[in-house]
């Protein structure tokens, strides 16, 4: 595997991790303003310890894109100047809102509302960003709608797995909805589900997980770890399809600029290093989640 391809795989993975982790956080933040105090405590206990780590995935993706594909990075940012400015301001507002919400006594609800609203708008930005990244050369509303449906379904399910605010029937509607949008998403990009052994295998497993999840949902609430794993799996399986679409666009745009980089062995060393480091970090995060899972009081530092 060549160095740029490897870099793309790493960046797509980090972007997916960011979208999954932050997508869940975003949806929970949106709901936090319209929830009971106990649920809010649970939400913040869950999202705060890994808040900075989530943002780091985004920073890494941006830095990696800057280092690996400087021409693409420059073009993308300049062409969509206003969008990235808005996204930046929303990210700042959301980060500040959560910090100030914890510290504030007088305007607690104002910051909570600001957190909720900025999260909602960032969610919209995620949808636009995904559409932009998947098809940098052309933009259509069809794609935007499908991706919007997919991301909203996905994050709603993630939030539901934590808050259990939906009843069985709603969850029954939600799961096929997710399945349907996934299928439309795949068809939209002209990728046959049965094309390629690895991808079809991953997709089949995703479907199998979904069926089990649905069945379990009818009888009882599924255990959290199970539902989360299923969702991550489904999202990751879609990610692989998206990668297939994305790679040629990036390489074609940047290949001339990259030849100098690819010749440099040090860059390969960095990529290899990152492959070993990421699982370690994931382990660290998993450990942290375990440590904090027993904490039921309102979190404070």
């Amino acid at each position: 595997m060549s160095s740029p391809t490897l870099t793309i795989y790493i960046l797509i993975c980090t972007l997916l991790i960011y979208l999954i982790q932050d997508g869940r956080t975003l949806m929970l933040c949106v709901f936090s303003a319209f929830n009971t105090k106990q649920n809010r405590v649970n939400i913040f206990n869950d999202i705060l310890p890994s808040w900075d780590a989530n943002q780091t995935w985004l920073v890494f993706t941006i830095a990696g894109l800057y280092g690996g594909f400087p021409i693409y990075f420059g073009e993308l940012m300049t062409q969509h100047y206003s969008f990235f400015l808005v996204l930046l301001l929303l990210l700042i507002l959301r980060g500040a809102s959560i910090e100030f919400y914890i510290k504030s006594t007088k305007f607690k609800y104002l910051w909570l509302f600001s957190l909720s609203m900025s999260s909602l708008m960032i969610l919209a930005c995620h949808i636009f960003l995904c559409t932009l990244l998947i098809s940098p050369s052309y933009f259509s509303l069809d794609q935007l709608f499908v991706i919007a449906a997919f991301i909203l379904w996905f994050n709603l399910t993630q939030a539901d797995c934590f808050l259990f605010f939906l009843n069985y029937y709603s969850r029954l509607i939600l799961a096929p909805g997710l399945f349907l949008t996934t299928t439309i998403l795949l068809n939209l990009f002209d990728i046959s589900v049965w094309q390629g052994n690895l991808t079809s295998l991953i997709f089949l497993f995703g479907v199998a997980f979904l069926i089990i999840f649905l069945t379990l949902s009818i009888f009882s609430y599924p255990p959290r770890w199970f539902s989360k794993t299923m969702l991550y799996y489904l999202f990751a399986s879609n990610g692989f399809f998206i990668i297939q679409k994305l790679i040629p666009d990036l390489i074609m745009l940047d290949y001339d600029g990259l030849t100098s980089v690819t010749k440099n062995t040090s860059y390969l060393v960095i990529n290899t290093f990152s492959i070993f480091l990421l699982p370690l970090i994931a382990l660290g995060l998993a450990k942290m989640k375990m440590v904090f899972s027993n904490n039921y009081d309102e979190i404070s530092y």
């Binding site: 310890p49 890994s50 808040w51 900075d52 780590a53 943002q55 780091t56 920073v59 890494f60 941006i62 830095a63 990696g64 800057y66 280092g67 690996g68 594909f69 400087p70 021409i71 990075f73 420059g74 073009e75 993308l76 940012m77 300049t78 100047y81 206003s82 990235f84 400015l85 996204l87 930046l88 301001l89 990210l91 700042i92 507002l93 980060g95 500040a96 959560i98 910090e99 100030f100 510290k103 504030s104 600029g257 100098s260 980089v261 440099n264 040090s266 960095i270 290093f273 990152s274 480091l277 970090i281 660290g284 995060l285 942290m288 440590v291 904090f292 027993n294 904490n295 979190i299 530092y301």
Partner: protein, 465 residues
């Protein structure tokens, strides 16, 4: 509208370049305060927590809990204000990304991998794990956070220093090709500038800690906690403040060797001279290329920059107008930085004197002075950066790539809108928001459950030890 000779010479949209530069200057000036404060606080917390583990005194535990709250707020602000930097590299400086991306992008990626993930992961343990993990694991987390923020500063300083003294690369067909990564990372100015920055962060933070302590002493509350922290701050300032002067001198030698024009701008020197005087104050007229008024000390500039009384200093006249930085900004920023540096040294030794005379708590004028001078460390840090970055202009990569060649060709309207929105957002969130919560935390002080203890230093000592 704007009579900068550089801009006139270039003949491109001068407002676009100026606004893009101002926007970047504004965002990075806001941003740099948070990482610098985080570096200082994280290091202070390592010391404090280590002392708590060793002695078991509650005062160290309370201090660590108190300052970790401030660190949490500051660190969060640092992350979100840092995002702006990453975005702006693409939105406002797309040309810079294209040309320099293969070099600096790799350094930024390394920063994310080796520093950000470490600090972000362990910060969770550090802030929320006081009663959830063992003391040793917590101490290890604090060390890792400190390591992470320091390493992050190293990568950024390596990247920035490379822009000042580029090495290990060849510049071909509008791209940099790296020949030696070690030379890129450890370019001639990396280590002195990194050390200078780290010590500046320590000093700026220690001044804030001293201010918090002085504030509590003046209000006659938490005296035991305040005096302990003030003494610790004075001990560290005694080490770092004079050391900073020595490191600053080393940085000055490097600047003189690699960027003689910047040295000339710092010294306000127009003609090349042996035994050049130190210009204490001057009215710089860049248009006429001379100082219309100046107060000088003979030969001192040569002595400082070359360590020889009759050493040669190049004058600004060796370069044309188009290659001159904004001399007055460099000249005055440097003087503010040095002046504040000496003020901090003076304050430190006054504090030490009263400590040795055992009358530190009763010197209210001194505590008032400490409160007033609290931001001096950060102002010195910022003016130091102004000297460094404005002094590098008109080059973005010194001697190789000019700033006006790498600005994004976006519409002026977009940049103006962006600039206005950024000023409002930054002013409200980082200015009003952060500062109000910061002052609130200072006003509240460390948590002591019994109200009787708050104003009783003897009882506090019994409680803490």
């Amino acid at each position: 509208m704007y009579s900068d000779p550089i801009i006139k010479h270039v003949g491109i949209s001068m407002t676009l370049l100026l606004l893009s530069r101002l926007q970047f200057a504004l965002t990075i000036s806001f941003h740099i305060i948070f990482p610098a404060f985080s570096i200082g606080l994280a290091t202070y917390l390592v010391v404090i927590e280590g002392m708590w583990l060793k002695t078991g005194h509650k005062v160290y535990y309370r201090t660590a809990r108190y300052f970790s709250k401030i660190l949490a707020l500051t660190f969060g602000m640092g992350i979100i204000s840092g995002l702006a930097m990453a975005f702006q590299m693409g939105t406002n400086w797309a040309g810079f990304s294209k040309i320099v991306g293969p070099v600096l992008g790799v350094l930024f990626t390394l920063e994310s991998l080796t520093a950000f993930f470490v600090e972000a992961t362990f910060l969770g343990f550090m802030l929320f794990g006081w009663h959830l993990v063992s003391k040793r694991l917590h101490f290890f987390s604090t060390i890792m956070v400190c390591f992470g923020v320091t390493l992050s500063a190293f990568w950024i300083m390596a990247a920035n220093s490379w822009m000042h003294t580029p090495s290990g690369v060849v510049y071909e067909n509008g791209h940099f090709i790296v020949k030696n990564w070690l030379l890129v990372v450890f370019n001639p100015s990396t280590l002195p500038r990194f050390t200078h920055m780290i010590i500046a962060s320590y000093i700026a933070t220690l001044m804030i800690i001293a201010m918090i302590s002085a504030f509590n002493i003046l209000r006659k509350r938490f005296q035991y906690f305040a005096l302990k922290n003030l003494k610790l701050a004075l001990i560290f300032l005694t080490i770092f403040a004079p050391l900073q002067i020595i490191i600053g001198d080393l940085v000055g030698l490097k600047i003189h060797h690699y960027q003689p024009v910047k040295t000339a701008a710092i010294e306000g020197l127009w003609e090349t001279k042996n035994g050049a005087p130190l210009v204490l104050f001057a009215n710089i007229s860049q248009h006429e290329r001379k100082n219309t008024y100046s107060v000088e000390i003979p030969k001192l500039a040569s002595l400082i920059n070359t360590h020889h009384l009759n050493g040669e200093l190049k004058g600004l006249n060796i370069v044309p107008n188009s290659e001159l930085p904004r001399v007055s900004v460099v000249f005055y920023s440097f003087r503010v930085m040095v002046g504040l540096g000496f003020l901090i040294v003076m304050l430190t030794f006054i504090g030490l004197y009263y400590w040795l005379k055992d009358s530190l708590t009763s010197q209210y004028w001194y505590h008032r002075l400490l409160v007033i001078c609290a931001p001096s460390g950060f102002i010195a840090l910022l003016t130091g950066w102004f000297t460094s970055e404005v002094g590098r202009q008109p080059w973005v990569v010194y001697g190789l790539v000019k700033t006006h060649d790498v600005v994004s060709q976006v519409s002026l309207k977009q940049v103006i809108n962006g600039f206005v929105v950024i000023i409002i957002t930054y002013g409200l969130i980082f200015g009003v928001g952060y500062l109000s919560f910061f002052f609130k935390m200072i006003k509240k002080g460390p948590v002591i459950k019994s109200r009787k203890l708050i104003n009783n230093p003897i009882q506090q000592e019994k409680h803490y030890v």
